[in-house]
C-alpha cells in the first residue's frame, strides 16, 4: 500500500520536478558558473576569471548604489503598502456605505501590469502636461513642480510611489481576509473589559493579524527584490543610476553592456540576499504556526 502510494507520488512529482529542473535549477546553476567567467553572452570564446567578478562587486560604485536604492525600496515596501493597506482595510471592514465598491477600486491597480502602471505614472509625472505638476500649478504651488523622473533627487521616490500605489491594494486584500478570521468574541470581550477602539486595535486586532502581516511583509520584500519592470519602463535605472535597483543593474550589466559574467555575479549576490531573507521568513512562519493549531 505504502509502496504503491510512493510510486504514485513519484509519477506525479516527476513532471513538475523535471520542468523545475530545466527552467529553474539549471539556469540557476549556469548563472553560478558564468559568474566566474568573462562571457559576453555571445562569443563562444571566454575564459575563467575566478573571483574577479566578485572582487569587482565590492568596489563597484554602481553596485553599492544599487544596494542602497534596493534597501530604500525595501524599507518603503515594508512601511507604505502595509501601513496604507491596513488603514484602508480597517475602514472598509466596517459595514459602511459603498465598502464593496471601494474595495474593488483599491484592488483595481493589482489587475494592471506594472508596465501599464509605469506608463500611467509617466504621464502623471510629465513635466509640462502631467497631472501632478498641473495640480500643483492650479493650487499656486508651482515652486514645488519638478521634472520628477529626470531629477536624480526625485526619480527613485517617484518610481517607488507608482509601485506602492499598486501594492496597497494587495496589502488591503490580505489584511481584509486576516480581519475576517479574527473571532468577533475577542474584540467584544476587550470592549466589555473597558478597552477603547485604539486599545483593542493595538492589543487585540494587530497581534492577531500577525499571520497576515507576515505574508504582506514577505510579499513586499520579494517584490522589492524583484523590482525591475516598473523601473525599466519609467527610468531604466536613470538618471545617472539614481533609480537603479539590483535587478535593474543586473539587466544593464548583462544585456546593455554584454557583461554576462559580471551580471551573473550580481544575480548570485541577489540570490544570496534572498536566501537570507527566506531563512528569517521560515523562522517567523514556524513561530506563527501555533495560531492555526
Amino acid at each position: 500500500m505504502v509502496k504503491q502510494r510512493n510510486m504514485w507520488a513519484i509519477i506525479f512529482l516527476f513532471f513538475p520536478l523535471a520542468i523545475y529542473t530545466v527552467f529553474v535549477i539549471m539556469p540557476l546553476l549556469s548563472s553560478f558558473y558564468y559568474s566566474f567567467t568573462d562571457w559576453n553572452g555571445f562569443n563562444p570564446n571566454f575564459s575563467w576569471v575566478g573571483f574577479d567578478n566578485y572582487l569587482k562587486i565590492t568596489t563597484d560604485p554602481t553596485f553599492l548604489n544599487a544596494i542602497k536604492n534596493t534597501s530604500i525600496w525595501m524599507a518603503a515596501a515594508i512601511i507604505v503598502p502595509s501601513g496604507f493597506g491596513l488603514m484602508i482595510a480597517l475602514i472598509l471592514q466596517r459595514k459602511i456605505w459603498g465598502a464593496n465598491f471601494f474595495k474593488s477600486l483599491f484592488y483595481l491597480p493589482i489587475c494592471l501590469s506594472l508596465a501599464v502602471i509605469g506608463q500611467v505614472w509617466i504621464w502623471i509625472y510629465h513635466p509640462d502636461l502631467g497631472l501632478l505638476n498641473l495640480t500643483l500649478n492650479f493650487l499656486h504651488l508651482s515652486f514645488l513642480t519638478d521634472a520628477w523622473l529626470s531629477d536624480p533627487n526625485t526619480a527613485l521616490f517617484a518610481v517607488i510611489v507608482a509601485w506602492c500605489w499598486q501594492q496597497i491594494g494587495l496589502a488591503m486584500v490580505i489584511f481584509l481576509s486576516g480581519l475576517t478570521s479574527i473571532p468577533q468574541e475577542l474584540i467584544e470581550a476587550a470592549e466589555i473589559d473597558g478597552a477603547n477602539y485604539w486599545q483593542s486595535l493595538w492589543r487585540v486586532i494587530i497581534p492577531l493579524l500577525s499571520p497576515a502581516t507576515v505574508v504582506v511583509i514577505a510579499l513586499a520584500i520579494i517584490n522589492s527584490l524583484k523590482s525591475f519592470d516598473v523601473v525599466y519602463i519609467m527610468t531604466k535605472g536613470g538618471p545617472f543610476h539614481s533609480s537603479d535597483t539590483l535587478a535593474m543593474m543586473m539587466y544593464n550589466e548583462s544585456f546593455q553592456k554584454y557583461y554576462i559574467g559580471y551580471g551573473s555575479a550580481v544575480s548570485v549576490v541577489l540570490f544570496l540576499i534572498a536566501m537570507i531573507v527566506i531563512a528569517f521568513y521560515f523562522r517567523q512562519v514556524r513561530e506563527l504556526e501555533h495560531l492555526y493549531d
Partner: protein, 458 residues
C-alpha cells in the same frame, strides 16, 4: 485544513523568493535592450503606385525546386514591414526558385533575439543590422560570412558611395552591405527663424552663436533636445568633438586609443557647457523624448533640434511639409582648418557564416540594392538610399539637401554605433549628466575614463 493552506502559502512564497533571485541573468530571453541606438524611422506616406518591383503574379511555372530564404529584420513598424514585403514579394515573383520567409520581430526584441539565434546556431539566412560597433561585435565572434567576392562580382564600388565603404568593412573584409543611411544635422522651423528675424542660415561658428542670441532675445529656445533615453544627446558630443578635435581624434577616442581626460574632450565639453550656460537649450532636456523635442520645434517653442533624418518621417506623419514647416542645416564648422564630417547611422544587411541558403541570401541582397528597390525603400522609410544611382526625384526638398550633403561629406557613425556597447553605456551617461549639470564636466571626464580603462583594458 487551515494549517495545510498556511503551509502551501508559505511554500509558494518561498518559491517566489527563489525565482525572484534567478531572474534575467539566467534567462537570455529577458526583455530586450532599451533603445540606445538609432530611433525607429517613421516612414513617410508614399502613394501605392510607386511600386517598380511589382511583377505580374502570373510568372511562368517552373520546374526548379524552391528553397526558402529566411530573413530577420528590425523594420517592424507597419510601414517598414509593408515596404520590406513589397521588395521580397517582387523578389519571389522574379525568382521562383526562392521563397522568402519573413521573421520580423519588434525593433527592441530584435537586439537580443538575433544574438540568441546566432549563438544557438539557428541563424536566419540574412538579417538587418546596424553598421559599426554592433556589427564588429558579431564579426569578432566569427558569426558572419565575408562578402568580398559578392561585392566585387556585383561591382558594389560603383553602387555604394566610397564614404560608406568603411562601414561595410570589418577586420579588413566586407561583412555588411548598407541598405540606407540616416544623417544627423539641425532640423529647424523656418517660421520660428523668421520670427526672430533670421533669413540666412549661418555657416560659421560666430554667425551660429549670433543666431542663437537673436533667437533667445525673441523668446525662442535655440535648441530642443529630448535626452530622456540618453542617445539623442550623443550627437552633440559627436559633432563638438569632430568639429574641434577632428574626425581622426574622434575615431581614436571611439576605439579606446585616446582618453576621455584628454584636453580635446575637455574643449568639446567646455563648448557644450557654454551653450547650456547661455540658456540656448529648452529647459529639462532629460525629461523629454526626442519626439517631444521634435514637437517643441514644430510648435515654434524651440527653433531647431540636432537629430537624424528619421525626424522627417515623424514630422510628415504629423502633416508638416518639408521646406515650409521644417528645413535642414548641417552642423556648422567650428574650426575652418578641420575637415567636415557628417554623423549618422547605417542600416545594413549581413549574412550569417552558417546560413542555410547562401545563394538565396546573396540573390536577395542584390535585389535589395537595385536602384528600383532602393527608390521604393528610401522613399517609404524616409531614409537616404545607399545606392548612389537611385533616382534623386524620390526625395522631398529637405531629404534632397541631406542626400546632397552626404554625397560630398565623409561619414562617421554616431557615438553608440561607433564604440563598444559597455563604453557606449558609460558615454551616454556622461552626455545626460552634461544636460543635468554641466559645471562638473571635469568630474564626468574622469568617471568616463574610468569606464574606458575597464572596457579597453588600458
Amino acid at each position: 485544513m487551515k494549517k495545510l493552506v498556511w503551509q502551501l502559502l508559505t511554500l509558494t512564497i518561498a518559491l517566489a523568493f527563489v525565482l525572484s533571485a534567478c531572474g534575467p541573468a539566467a534567462t537570455p530571453e529577458a526583455p530586450a535592450a532599451p533603445a540606445a541606438t538609432a530611433a525607429p524611422a517613421q516612414p513617410t506616406a508614399v502613394p501605392p503606385t510607386a511600386a517598380p518591383t511589382a511583377v505580374p503574379a502570373t510568372a511562368a511555372p517552373t520546374a526548379v525546386p524552391q528553397t526558402t530564404v529566411n530573413i530577420t529584420h528590425y523594420f517592424s513598424d507597419s510601414l517598414g514591414k509593408k515596404w520590406i514585403s513589397q521588395l521580397t514579394d517582387g523578389f519571389g515573383a522574379a525568382n521562383p526558385q526562392f521563397k522568402v520567409a519573413d521573421n520580423t520581430t519588434g525593433h527592441e526584441d530584435f537586439k537580443t533575439q538575433i544574438l540568441v539565434m546566432l549563438a544557438g546556431n539557428n541563424p536566419p539566412d540574412i538579417f538587418s543590422y546596424w553598421a559599426g560597433a554592433r556589427t564588429q561585435f558579431v564579426v569578432d565572434a566569427n558569426r558572419l560570412m565575408p562578402l568580398d567576392d559578392w561585392w566585387t562580382a556585383n561591382k558594389m564600388d560603383d553602387v555604394i558611395p566610397a564614404s560608406l565603404k568603411p562601414l561595410a568593412t570589418y577586420n579588413g573584409k566586407i561583412y555588411a552591405v548598407p541598405m540606407n543611411a540616416h544623417i544627423v544635422g539641425f532640423f529647424y522651423n523656418p517660421k520660428a527663424m523668421a520670427k526672430a528675424g533670421i533669413t540666412t542660415m549661418p555657416t560659421t561658428w560666430t554667425d551660429f552663436l549670433a543666431m542663437c542670441d537673436k533667437l533667445k532675445a525673441a523668446g525662442i529656445a535655440p535648441f530642443a533636445l529630448g535626452s530622456k533615453n540618453q542617445w539623442p544627446a550623443q550627437y552633440w558630443f559627436d559633432y563638438l568633438v569632430s568639429r574641434t578635435a577632428g574626425p581622426d581624434y574622434r575615431t581614436q577616442l571611439m576605439l579606446g586609443k585616446a582618453a576621455y581626460t584628454d584636453p580635446q574632450v575637455g574643449k568639446a565639453l567646455e563648448t557644450w557647457k557654454m551653450l547650456i550656460d547661455k540658456g540656448y537649450f529648452y529647459k529639462n532636456a532629460n525629461a523629454y523624448d526626442w519626439t517631444d523635442a521634435a514637437d517643441q520645434v514644430a510648435k515654434g517653442d524651440a527653433a531647431m533640434t540636432l537629430m537624424g533624418t528619421w525626424i522627417t518621417g515623424y514630422w510628415d506623419g504629423k502633416g508638416l511639409k518639408a521646406g515650409t514647416d521644417y528645413e535642414f542645416m548641417p552642423f556648422p564648422s567650428i574650426d575652418p582648418a578641420i575637415p567636415m564630417v557628417v554623423h549618422g547611422s547605417i542600416d545594413a544587411w549581413t549574412i550569417p557564416a552558417d546560413t542555410h541558403n547562401k545563394d538565396g541570401a546573396l540573390a536577395l541582397l542584390a535585389w535589395f540594392l537595385k536602384p528600383e528597390s532602393q527608390a521604393v525603400w528610401a522613399k517609404g522609410q524616409g531614409a537616404l538610399a545607399a545606392n548612389k544611382n537611385t533616382d534623386p526625384s524620390i526625395y522631398n526638398p529637405v531629404m534632397k539637401e541631406a542626400a546632397d550633403y552626404l554625397a560630398k561629406t565623409n561619414f562617421l557613425s554616431g557615438y553608440d554605433l561607433s564604440t563598444t556597447p559597455p563604453m557606449a553605456v558609460g558615454g551616454l551617461n556622461m552626455f545626460a549628466l552634461m544636460m543635468n549639470d554641466p559645471s562638473k564636466y571635469q568630474d564626468y571626464m574622469k568617471q568616463t575614463e574610468d569606464v574606458a580603462k575597464q572596457v579597453f583594458k588600458k
